[in-house]
Amino acid sequence: MEEMIRAENLVYEYGPVGDGRHAALRGISLAIMPGEFVAIIGHNGSGKSTLAKHFNALLVPTSGTVKVKGMKTSDPRNLWKIRQTVGMVFQNPDNQIVATTVEEDVAFGPENLGVPPAEIRRRVREALECVDMVEYMRHAPHLLSGGQKQRVAIAGVVAMRPECIVLDEPTAMLDPSGRREVMRTITRLNREEGITVVLITHFMNEAVQADRVIVMEGGRIVLDGSPRKVFGQVDTLRALHLDVPQVTELAYELNREGAELPPDILTVEEFADAIIGVSDRGVNDRSHKTEEGRARTADACGTTARGRGRSGQADCHGRAAAASCGGG
């Protein structure tokens, strides 16, 4: 399969030539395959936004190469084909909406591509359906919520029929519900439309939803792998002052206190399952409960999972007391 994006020894420097030059990217090599959902995380100034801008030739490498479907970004003849293939959504929804109604803004991209008017109309409708904003077609963008604006911006890119969408911290300026809306849209585009997604984010629970997580620091890639593999390395991430998802951290801390949880827990559901597994084993060793009884304990653990340790212990004591009563 042909790679969607390939970077080789990508170096990007800025500033005046001479001593004042800063390197934002210091030798990045990576390949992104069609249909992948890649999250890039890293500090402010780690180079992740700079890297993203290389993916559709908004920036070209100082040295090294970036290829989009085999087209070199440094060749100006490829420019428009590349930008049509790789769409980009930016952080501030206000600063990327050009037009004064939603439909006209979504039409902006296809208009630039010279698509015939009837076809533009069809694409605008499809794109708005895709992000669930059809009923806002004739609205003025400044009256929409942040999440809605960002979905309009995504529709504006979708209407250009890209094969890959790069999103540069699309949820950074949104409230939690807007963030959820946007994430739902992004995952849907990836799963249902098969669009390759590169998501740059600060939020670890968003990165977890990707197939692959790339961690950047100081213009280099320091970790690259499945979310499970990357977030399993809590120590490395901590050393980089990066967060891990809250449940992963909780599991990590519990393990340090002697619990025996898998180190690569990423979601609350997995955490709950793991806790059940642990307490299950305990219960089994002690009293050889039946399937039915195990299910019941699982329920109890599910409800006490939030209060962990203490209530768990109390539960055990209670059970022990009950057992002794019954025995007596």
Binding site: Q84, D94, Q96, N112, V115, P116, A140, P141
Partner: protein
Amino acid sequence: MFGNITIGQYIPGDSLVHRLDPRVKIFITLVVITVLFLVHTMAGYGLVLLFILGAMLLAHLPVKFVLRGVRPLLFILVLTFGLHLFMNEGRVLFRLGPLVATYEGAFRGFAMSMRLVLLVLATSILTLSTSPIELTDGIENILSPTRALGVPAHELAMMMTIALRFIPTLLEETDKIMKAQMARGADFQTGNVLQKAKSLVPLLVPLFVSAFRRADELAMAMEARCYRGGQGRTRMKQLHVGAKDVLAAIGSTAALIAVAVYL
């Protein structure tokens, strides 16, 4: 403070006026403006006012909202009226120290103020009932024959669209910065003109900085969406002059010219 600026805003709708071809609407507005400068009688102004109110109702625009757009003009109106009132010769109305107010001055002042108000109303109906993109499409289209002469028609139109698009955004931002500065003790209300102007500095500096940042980001977003000027660009909305457009243009022009000729 900025809520009452209606120029440049657009109220979406589906009325007859909304659906007219933007070029026709621009044409009619230009006719209204020309007639306003030709008319010299009260009855003439009255009829133009009627025409404008009629257009407002046809467009289903909230009359109160449109009229509020005149409010920022109040100072200029008072100044115009005052200057005309005292600067004209004729029958004496009253004296104020060395100043002499005349009947002729009062009439002229009133006529001038009326003219200004009607100008603002006519243009606000145009912008309120025409989406800025349609409006700029219209202007671009009207200007396109001059492209051969080196007039950058597309660029001008794009600049206008963006300016209009960002008016509400920047007003919102101004309001936010103002509140932030007021929360830290800035005072925008009191003092003489000079002090007031000075107090605007902490407002304008951040506003400009952020406007430049916005411009930078917008330019990048536009480029990312393959914008490369007017060449090879198509439009989703094609301009089309239909029967209703021709009728509207002929009807209003005839009516307005009649007003100009007979009154």
